[in-house]
Subunit: 327 residues, 2 copies
C-alpha cells in the first residue's frame, strides 16, 4: 500500500518537505490514470457532499421546498461563513419554519475575514449557521421534513443518514466498511479512492432517469455558484472560476474531488498526511495535466506557487509536483 | 532514505492520515536512539535559534549591551507577538538606540489572540516587532553593534550571519551543504538531523569555557521564560511549563528540538510533510518516552489528543503514535 510522491516544498535548492498520497482519474468504468494505490480506503469528508445531497433532490424534497440552485450549491458546500452564506442559509431555514437551533452541526468562527472581524470586534459569538457545513445540514433538514423524520437527523441510523448512505454505496459501487463522525457530527462513510473517483465520473457523465437528473442538477449548481461552494480566496471557488467546466470540492484531511462533464471524467485524491496545501496543489496539477487549466493561469500560481515569497517579498522556494506526478 | 511512521490520525476505527519523519535522541557522542534516517539533511528553521544566538553571547555583545535572560530567551524565540513580547523587544531596540525600522524580518499579524484582536479591531497594522523572529533579529542587531557591521545584517555574507554559520557548523560538527532564505529573511543553514541532535546534546551537557557558558546561559534563559519563547497556548511554552527540566523549540515545516540538561541528552525531529500538529505530537511522545513528561499530564492530552472532539464535543478520533514510535 505505497503512496506516491506528489507535492514537494523546495527551499535553498533542497527539498524541505514532501507530501505523498493517492490520486485517480476515472471514467464511469473505472480508473483511467492513477498515482499511488487506487484501492486505498479513505474518508471522503466534505468531498462527498454532492453525494450526500442526492437523496435531497431524488426524493423530490428539494422541489417540494422550492430549492434554488443557490441552495443546492450550499448543500454541497464547505462555505466560509460570509454574509452571503449566512443569510442564504438563514432564509432557507426560515422557509422551512425552522431555526438555527434545529441545526446539529455545532458552532465555529467563520473563515471569512470580514465576518470573522465583524464578530470579533463586535464581541459577538458565531452561531451554527456560521458552521461551514450549515448548507449541508439545511439540506438534511429539508429531506427530513419530506421524510417526517425525528429531529436527530445527524444520527447514523436516522432515515436521512440511511438515505445518504444508500446513495453513497450506490454511486461508489462499494459496500462501505464503516463510518467516522465528521466535524459537523454527521456520519462520513468510508470508500476506496477508486470508488470515489468513479462516483465523480458518474456525476460527470450521468445517465438518464432520476439519479442522472439529480447528479446533473447538483453539478450544475456547484459550477454556477463557485462563491457559495467555498468563499473568496479559497481553492474550490478560485479553481472553479478559472475552470468553469469543472465542479470541484475539497474535504478535510486533504481530500479533493473533481467532476469534469465535458470529458466524462472524475478526479479523486487524498494526501496521506492530511495537508490541505498539498491537496490544493495536487488537484491544480491534475487540472493542468488534463488541460482544464492552462499552466500560465494566475490560479495555478496561487496553489503551486513558484516562487514562494516571504514577509519581505523575497523568493524563498517553491511548491511543485514531485517527480512522477504531473507538472 | 526511508522515513518512519510516527504520528497517526484515527477516525471511526480507521487510520485517516499518517505523518512520517525522522527523529533522534543524542548524547554528545552521537545517536542514542533513532527513528527514520539520522543522516537526513534538513533545514532546522527556527529550531536553530539558540545556535544562532551563540555568537551574541560568546562575543561579549550580550554583556556589553547588558542583556537579561528575558532578552536572551526572546533571541531564541518564535514569539506570538503578544504585548509582553512586543514591549520587551521594543525596549531592547530603544536601548540600542535603534528602532523598528532597523529590523529586516518583515511584518506579519501576531499569532497572539488579544494582540491580533487589538490590531484588527483598531484598524492598526502590525509592525516588524510583531514578527515572531523579532527577538532573534534584535539579537542580530546587538551583535552587529558589537561588530560594527553594516545595516544589512541579514545578508548571508554579513559578519553577523558568518558568525552564526561558524557556530552552527561547529556545534553540528558538519560543513553545511548550503542555506535557504528563512521566512524572516535570514539565512538558515542545512545540517543532518543527527548533527542537530548532537548540537542539542552539547547544549544539554556543555563543557567549560566560553562556548559552554554561552550554551548554559541560553538554555537556562529558555527554561526560565517559557512564556517568552513562544506564547500562551503554544507547544514550546506549554511543554516547557510541564517539563521544567527541558528547553524546547519548534521550527517551521515541523522541526522540533529538545535540550535535556539533567540527562545530557538532545532531541531533534523533522516530520517529512512539514505538519506542525505532528511535530508537536512527536516531541510530546518522545518526552513521555524519556520520562520527562508523565503520560497523564494534561499537556500530553493537548498534543496527543485522545479523543479528539468536534464542534459539538463529540469524540471523533484520536492523534497518536504510530506502531514503532514511542507511545
Amino acid at each position: 500500500m505505497r503512496s506516491a510522491a506528489m507535492i514537494e516544498l523546495w527551499r535553498g535548492g533542497m527539498r524541505e518537505s514532501l507530501h505523498c498520497g493517492h490520486a485517480v482519474i476515472c471514467d464511469r468504468q473505472g480508473v483511467v490514470e492513477a498515482w499511488g494505490v487506487p484501492g486505498t480506503v479513505i474518508f471522503p469528508r466534505s468531498s462527498a457532499k454532492m453525494i450526500q445531497a442526492l437523496p435531497l433532490v431524488e426524493s423530490g424534497a428539494a422541489d417540494a421546498a422550492g430549492l434554488t440552485d443557490r441552495q443546492l450549491a450550499l448543500a454541497c458546500a464547505s462555505h466560509s461563513g460570509a454574509r452571503i452564506h449566512v443569510e442564504t442559509v438563514g432564509r432557507w431555514l426560515d422557509g422551512l419554519g425552522l431555526s438555527e437551533a434545529d441545526l446539529r452541526c455545532g458552532t465555529h468562527m467563520p473563515q471569512d475575514r470580514d465576518e470573522n472581524r465583524r464578530l470579533t470586534c463586535g464581541g459577538e459569538s458565531p452561531c451554527q449557521i456560521h458552521n461551514n457545513c450549515s448548507g449541508k445540514h439545511a439540506g438534511f433538514l429539508t429531506l427530513n421534513r419530506h421524510l417526517n423524520g425525528g429531529p436527530e437527523y445527524e444520527q447514523p441510523d436516522h432515515p436521512v443518514q440511511q438515505a445518504a448512505k444508500a446513495a453513497f454505496e450506490d454511486v461508489t459501487g462499494e459496500t462501505s466498511p464503516g463510518f467516522g463522525v465528521d466535524g459537523c457530527s454527521a456520519p462520513n462513510w468510508a470508500c476506496t479512492l477508486e470508488g470515489l473517483g468513479r462516483a465523480m465520473a458518474c456525476f460527470a457523465a450521468p445517465g438518464a432517469g432520476r439519479r442522472g437528473q439529480a447528479m446533473r442538477r447538483l453539478t450544475d449548481a456547484m459550477r454556477a455558484h463557485p462563491d457559495l461552494v467555498a468563499g473568496e480566496g479559497r481553492a474550490c471557488t478560485r479553481l472553479m472560476r478559472a475552470a468553469p467546466e469543472a465542479a470541484l470540492k475539497t474535504g478535510a484531511e486533504a481530500v479533493f474531488v473533481g467532476i469534469l462533464p465535458a470529458r466524462g471524467l472524475g478526479i479523486a485524491l487524498k494526501i496521506a498526511d492530511g495537508a490541505t496545501r498539498a491537496s490544493e496543489a495536487a488537484v491544480t496539477a491534475l487540472l493542468v495535466h488534463l488541460g482544464v487549466l492552462q499552466p500560465g493561469d494566475p490560479v495555478v500560481g496561487q496553489f503551486l506557487p513558484d516562487p514562494i515569497r516571504n514577509w519581505r517579498g523575497l523568493a524563498t522556494g517553491r511548491l511543485g509536483a514531485a517527480p512522477g506526478f504531473p507538472r
